[in-house]
């Protein structure tokens, strides 16, 4: 991979890595024995691990071919491998924390392994590690293919990919040693947050510059979603993470937002992390890989416009539905509820658009598990957005909030939508990238599909049951008008469901492991000699299905 870089590009890569290592050294020196110091050491190791291959190939022969005549796929390949590695890590942590709720002694009396510290390693591992790497990889792929242009940079795609993974490593390793802001889905501390801003700005510039090279006059719809993902996540990340460190030599900071304002900012962030990280970005995937795999154009261009702007505008109002009946002023709760209900229109427009695109390709859905992954993802997207709007209604939320119902809802989205669309996209992408005719084993994709579906269904049914039971027990009164159940009564009722949930998660994890094996075997296989259709900027169709 390094042989594709020129000598001067290898030099700038080395320079960047040395600079990162120096920052790590400073962190280690100033943080001495505290958590910042530990992270300094991790930064140095990370930079050194990348510097080694660059330096050992620095005088290797330079590339001779015209690089602009081909797409830049190396960072995409690495991104997919990283995404799958994070998937296994994040899902394993998920199964572990789920098991801890059923068998609390699985924390082994250590500090780093208690539920509160492990939970964010699961959420960040999945959202940022698995989801984020998958988004970066697929966005690099989609923007090149739909623009018929090579990525506008040789080193910057690597910077984005590895810089982003450094953020993920700092975030997740921090939780184990107690570095956290406690802001859900934004737990990483101030220095990791600053680093992510640098990476993200580079990502955006790279994306815009690649779009600027496009040979098509119009920007394809998948890129709208990727742009919204990059831009809005930047806004959310910066505003929610504004904080003052107690010292430059300390990992600890205090957010500038107090109490009720902090709650509002946090859930404005939290809900829109769902919207723009876990929805917009993955809709970008859907709008490219689904039509490619189904070999049909998107059903309706108008519906895509409607749903895109609906999502961008409505979602940003919806966060306050996380704060119904709290000390947040009533008018904000009402706005959040109203917009959450309206959100159903663009959400179902997207899901409908995806499913109607499959019209005429149902035979392929039946025979091709990869396409079925994407179909199921669109169905779960439709279901979980409906459930989301429903749960945002105040009286419904009175019952569901604080219970496992919310957890089930999130996983209908995370397992059913995000993970399934990602696996479908990756199974479409891997053979293309590595120039193989198809995946190593279609049977293993079937296995993965059914394990994933079974795991998801077991998970969400368990959480519907536990959540609704819990919510009802808390509000049940006796004939004498006193509360019928103590909290512990409701806890005891949860155990069977906690076991079922851990089992569902385990099935899902096994499916992902099978997927890794299948990808690995595909990569190892002999490349097909004749590419089916040439895949280069000069030739390929820009927009799927056209």
């Amino acid at each position: 991979m390094i042989d594709k870089l020129t000598y001067s590009e290898r030099q700038s890569a080395s320079f960047i890595l040395v600079a990162v290592a120096v920052v790590g050294l400073l962190m280690a020196a100033f943080g001495n024995s505290n958590q910042l110091g530990v992270h300094g050491v991790i930064v140095m190791i990370f930079a050194a691990a990348l510097l080694y291959p660059v330096l050992s190939a620095i005088y290797a022969p330079e590339p001779v071919e015209d690089r602009e005549a081909s797409y830049y796929d190396d960072p995409i390949k690495v991104g997919i491998v990283l995404a799958m590695a994070w998937a296994i890590f994040g899902m394993f942590m998920g199964v572990w924390v789920a098991a801890q709720l059923a068998w609390p002694n699985l924390a082994f009396d250590a500090a780093w392994s208690t539920f509160g510290r492990l939970r964010p390693t699961h959420t960040s591992g999945i959202i940022f590690g698995f989801g984020g790497n998958a988004l970066i990889a697929t966005s690099f792929h989609v923007v090149q293919r739909t623009s018929r242009a090579r990525l506008a940079g040789q080193v910057s795609p690597w910077f984005v990919l590895f810089g982003y993974n450094l953020f993920c490593v700092l975030a997740v390793s921090g939780y184990f040693i107690g570095v956290t802001q406690s802001k859900e889905y934004a737990e990483a501390e101030w220095y990791a947050d600053l680093w992510l801003v640098v990476v993200w700005v580079t990502y955006f510039i790279l994306y815009l510059r690649t779009l600027a090279r496009r040979k098509e006059p119009h920007i394809y719809v998948a890129n709208w979603y990727f742009m919204a993902f990059i831009l809005v996540v930047a806004m959310l990340h910066i505003v929610n993470n504004l904080a003052i460190p107690i010292a430059w030599s300390s990992a600890k900071s205090y957010t500038i937002w107090p109490g009720v304002q902090d709650a509002m900012v946090q859930w404005w962030y939290g809900h829109n992390a769902v919207a723009f990280f876990l929805t917009a970005g993955f809709l970008g995937m859907l709008y490219y890989y689904l039509p490619v795999r189904a070999q049909r154009p998107i059903f309706s261009y108008r519906l895509s416009i409607l749903s895109f702007w609906g999502i961008v505008f409505f979602y940003m109002w919806a966060g306050s539905h996380h704060l119904h009946y709290t000390a947040l002023p009533h008018w904000v709760q009402t706005l959040g509820m109203t917009f959450s209900v309206m959100l159903l229109v663009p959400s179902w427009a997207s899901a409908g658009n995806a499913l109607l695109t499959l019209n005429g390709a149902w035979d392929r859905v039946r025979s091709d598990a990869t396409l079925r992954f994407m179909m199921a993802a669109a169905v779960f997207y439709g279901l979980s957005t409906f459930e989301g709007s429903f749960l945002a209604i105040r009286p419904v939320n009175a019952l569901s909030h604080y219970t496992d119902w919310t957890v089930g809802h999130v996983h209908a989205g995370a397992l059913g939508w995000v993970a399934l669309i990602t696996f479908g996209s990756i199974y479409t992408l891997v053979p293309t990238l590595w120039k193989r005719e198809r995946m190593y084993s279609a049977a293993l994709i079937e296995w993965h599909f059914w394990l994933a579906i079974a795991g998801t269904l077991i998970y969400i049914f368990a959480m519907w049951n536990s959540g609704i039971i819990q919510g009802l027990m808390w509000r049940t009164y006796t004939g004498e008008n006193t509360l019928a159940y103590s909290f512990v009564d409701s806890l005891v009722a949860m155990y069977p469901y906690y076991i079922a949930r851990a089992f569902g998660g385990l099935l899902f994890l096994i499916g992902a492991a099978i997927g890794c094996y299948n990808i690995w075997m595909t990569v190892k296989a002999v490349p097909s000699t004749v590419p089916a259709t040439p895949d280069a900027p000069e030739t390929a169709a820009a927009v799927p299905g056209e």
């Binding site: 859900e184 920007i219 919204a228 831009l231 809005v232 900071s253 416009i305 702007w309 306050s320 009175a398």
Partner: protein, 250 residues
């Protein structure tokens, strides 16, 4: 017509990016900015006191351990919650909370008014191993907190940042943060009197973890738990169930 217009902005990546930022900014601005300007968003509570350095350190341990992943600190305006946990939470009660710990999940009960509900002894036993006290519990054991000495060195820096952010800590409080933290957990020393002087007579000064010779993380966390819901009595006034906070358990 609209479609034609859209065809046009689809041709400009910068234009498209600007349109996205514009459309996405409205909701947040309208919902967040007024929370700072509309009076009454945060109620008045003249008796509201700040966290002592020991309680603040305890709060940071609560944050660090992710207790918020299982416990809320936000009693909603629902009858069953008020009956189970006490008067519903007011915005003013978390006005010094950075970050807020309202939480989103109750695997365990709400803790907004846990202060005074149990003795220190109960909390320590419970945190050492919850199943010793409540056999059905799935809360993790936190025995290591009792083994870990509290880091007092940077407490002044903590208070200084809070002061910058508008929490009414005096310079004297900032300066004496480490001493006050020590004094609050080690009664019968000269340091202890400073705590009541600066933070009020009602401040609880005692060996929270039962060991009066050392300040541990357990001291700090229990001190924090025991003050939850007791920084102001505002929630007990003008609510559906006016009463005074219950007497703390000894």
């Amino acid at each position: 017509m609209a479609e034609l217009f859209h065809r046009k902005i689809e041709r400009s990546s910068i234009g498209f990016a600007i349109a996205i930022v514009a459309a996405a900014s409205v909701g947040g601005i309208i919902e967040i900015a007024p929370l700072f300007t509309i009076d009454g968003t945060v109620e008045e509570a003249p008796d509201m006191r700040v966290y002592t350095p020991l309680e603040l350190a305890g709060r940071n341990i609560y944050v660090r351990e992710g207790c918020y992943a299982c416990h809320s600190q936000m009693i909603r305006t629902l009858q069953d919650e008020v009956e189970r946990y006490g008067p519903y939470s007011l915005a003013v009660e978390s006005k010094y909370d950075r970050p807020m710990q309202w939480g989103s999940k109750r695997t365990g009960p709400d803790l907004a008014r846990i202060g005074g509900k149990y003795s220190d002894f109960w909390h320590v036993a419970h945190l050492m191993n919850p199943r010793d006290v409540v056999p059905e519990s799935n809360m993790p054991a936190y025995a290591y907190l009792a083994r870990t000495p509290l880091n007092l060195n940077d407490l002044s820096q903590h208070l200084a940042v809070q002061q910058t952010l508008g929490v009414p800590y005096t310079d004297e409080m900032v300066e004496n943060a480490a001493r006050d933290a020590y004094g609050q957990a080690v009664p019968d020393t000269d340091f202890a009197s400073g705590v009541s002087e600066r933070y009020g007579e009602a401040t609880q000064v005692r060996a929270f973890d039962g060991v009066a010779t050392q300040v541990t993380e357990m001291d700090a966390l229990v001190a924090y738990l025991q003050v939850l819901g007791r920084l102001t009595t505002a929630a007990y006034q003008n609510t559906a169930a006016p009463e005074l906070p219950p007497e703390p358990v000894e």
